[in-house]
Symmetry: C2
DNA sequence: TTGTAAGCGTTATCAG
DNA sequence: CTGATAACGCTTACAA
């Protein structure tokens, strides 16, 4: 037996030919009535639709895609579902895809190259019509597979130097640099940075932070880089580390919102005034940021637009095959709040 | 042209027959080497795998599923991706599915029957091998489609009276009732309930809350039901409503964690002591609950287990077709913290 | 506008 | 253990 198991014999086993018989037309007329209704006379169309209804026929997309070499499925690879920041991007994608008759297939793949490879390979085996990847670092094998497949791809998580195909994103490096400069402008002088070591996007953010320090003339001062674990606990770790090892730090820039909130709570526990004792700034702009007390200064990214534009580009590529502008930088915005 | 557009011609256009030629075997041997390696002599198997590798062949699951009437894709319908509570369930599902060679297709469908119908129909058209639905209320059409398809289904969001097929869940009603009784046991007498009006699961929670009040002998007192909007803002609305209309309320039970946190923040803004002025309890147990100050008393559900067991049941049904116990109640646990 | 015939790329089946 | 052949259910291409 194969690795995969038995499944339904397809909805009730009603095929297009059954519908055709019932409606008194040929299979092709049924096919047309379903896919290109305009090409079938209203009367026959009605007959077909009635037959479909009464037989409970469900169009077989497997057969359709195999035969037509087209697919109405778009694959999306997200780094994680735990982080609700992606929800907006998914919504942006869906809002474009759905009216166009496409369906979104979503998979998560921790920022692990092997995992991504497996997921991409699976999507390609499924012959998806296009792929949206919320990641810009891929294994050589993954790259080879993607290129060989000829499948349209949009990358999302960052602005890569060598895109696979199309890109809709913002610059993690640029955004982090801007926020660091912003903190400096607010008067903070000893700015620390906390992030997850294993995340490529967090790494880029760290680079941006370091670039800003150099530009500010703090390049020679001892580094204030803090590697933390994920979740709220990571933010607490950062504050604890500052208390123990970098007590003169006056601002903490967190590579993610959850870290920032964790840091804020830890400050409260230690009775540290925010931003008096320690200012806090973060990346992304979860709804939570403006509700905590004090509200946290953060970087807002166009999460919804990223999704919408990605889907639009993908469809344009699939349908016209001609997308002149293949990289879109949607930028970022600093949202100034009470925490810094 | 069809509603859906052009797509890749399938990875490089390399077919199984090309692999077969290259390896000097028949297509069937290639098929076996890929699906049931044990049934092919090591030597031929190696030849095939080498040919696959050198040609960059990607197995066409469309054709495989069409021909075999099996599918290695499982569809999952979640109410929303904004709520990270589902991340754990997804992980539980993936952990079972992946090693079994299955792939998860995820879609979101707000608790809107029409939307769910469209999504289910799409999955059935895709001829998925099984379906996991995080919802227990379905439109008649959806039910008919599901039943007619014969596709194995697991429902997750609640314990329905008339399951479609299999169920792995907890009782929203039971859990809410238990929490309300718990609050009463802690000495609270004027317990309010806040939830989203349009959510079937929140409705069941409300029922449980009301049942508890009756059992406590508070059935005749004026109701303290508060309909709020979603997000942190909803929690704030609840507190504002209490301040304006139900000032003697001593405890607030929120149908969701985000509401509870929003309520907590609003209390702080109003300088209300929690739990002194108002106790707060919530449903689900997001990580955030134990990090806010004060930490919030909540109901913990086996989110990971729900996913794991659902996937296991589904696979058992697909492979053996014999799953004696078709409904699993995983219960809930009250996590007592400082907020109540 | 509708129909006919020949695939799409794989696997089930049965023979060797 | 391996191979030949006929599906799987649909659409393309062409003919009427």
């Amino acid at each position: 037996m194969p690795a995969y198991g038995r499944s339904a014999e397809g909805s009730g086993g009603v095929r297009m030919r059954d519908v055709a018989e019932r409606a008194g037309v040929s299979r092709m007329t049924v096919s047309r009535a379903l896919n290109e209704p305009d090409k079938v006379k209203p009367k026959l169309r009605r007959q077909v639709l009635e037959a479909v209804e009464s037989l409970g026929y469900v169009h077989n997309h497997l057969a359709r895609s195999l035969s037509s070499k087209r697919s109405n499925v778009i694959g999306l690879v997200l780094p994680s579902l735990e982080n609700s920041i992606f929800a907006l991007t998914v919504k942006g994608i869906s809002d474009v895809l759905r009216p166009a008759g496409y369906q979104l297939m979503l998979t998560e793949s921790a920022d692990d190259p092997e995992d991504e490879e497996r997921v991409i390979s699976s999507f390609l085996a499924q012959r998806v019509g296009g792929l949206i990847l919320h990641a810009t670092t891929h294994s050589p094998t993954a790259l080879r597979m993607l290129r060989a497949s000829g499948t349209p791809v949009v990358e999302n998580g960052d602005l890569p130097e060598e895109p696979v195909d199309m890109v809709v994103s913002y610059s993690n490096r640029g955004a982090a640099k801007a926020m660091t400069m912003h903190l400096a402008r607010l008067g903070y002088r000893k700015i620390a940075f906390a992030g997850l070591a294993r995340n490529p996007r967090a790494n880029e953010r760290q680079r941006g932070y370091l670039e800003a320090l150099v530009e500010l003339g703090h390049g020679d001062e001892p580094k204030r880089l803090i590697d933390v674990s994920r979740g709220f606990g990571g933010g607490a770790e950062a504050v604890a580390y500052i208390a123990a090892n970098l007590p003169d730090t006056d601002a903490l820039f967190c590579a993610g919102d959850v870290l920032a909130v964790g840091a804020l709570f830890e400050c409260k526990r230690r009775d540290w005034d925010v931003p008096g004792r320690l200012a806090i700034a973060s990346f992304d702009d979860l709804d939570l940021m403006r509700h905590v007390i004090p509200a946290i200064t953060s970087l807002r990214l166009e999460r919804y637009e990223i999704g919408r534009r990605s889907a639009e580009m993908l469809l344009a590529q699939i349908n016209n095959g001609d997308v002149p502008i293949r990289t879109i930088d949607l930028g970022y915005e600093i949202v100034q709040r009470a925490s810094a």
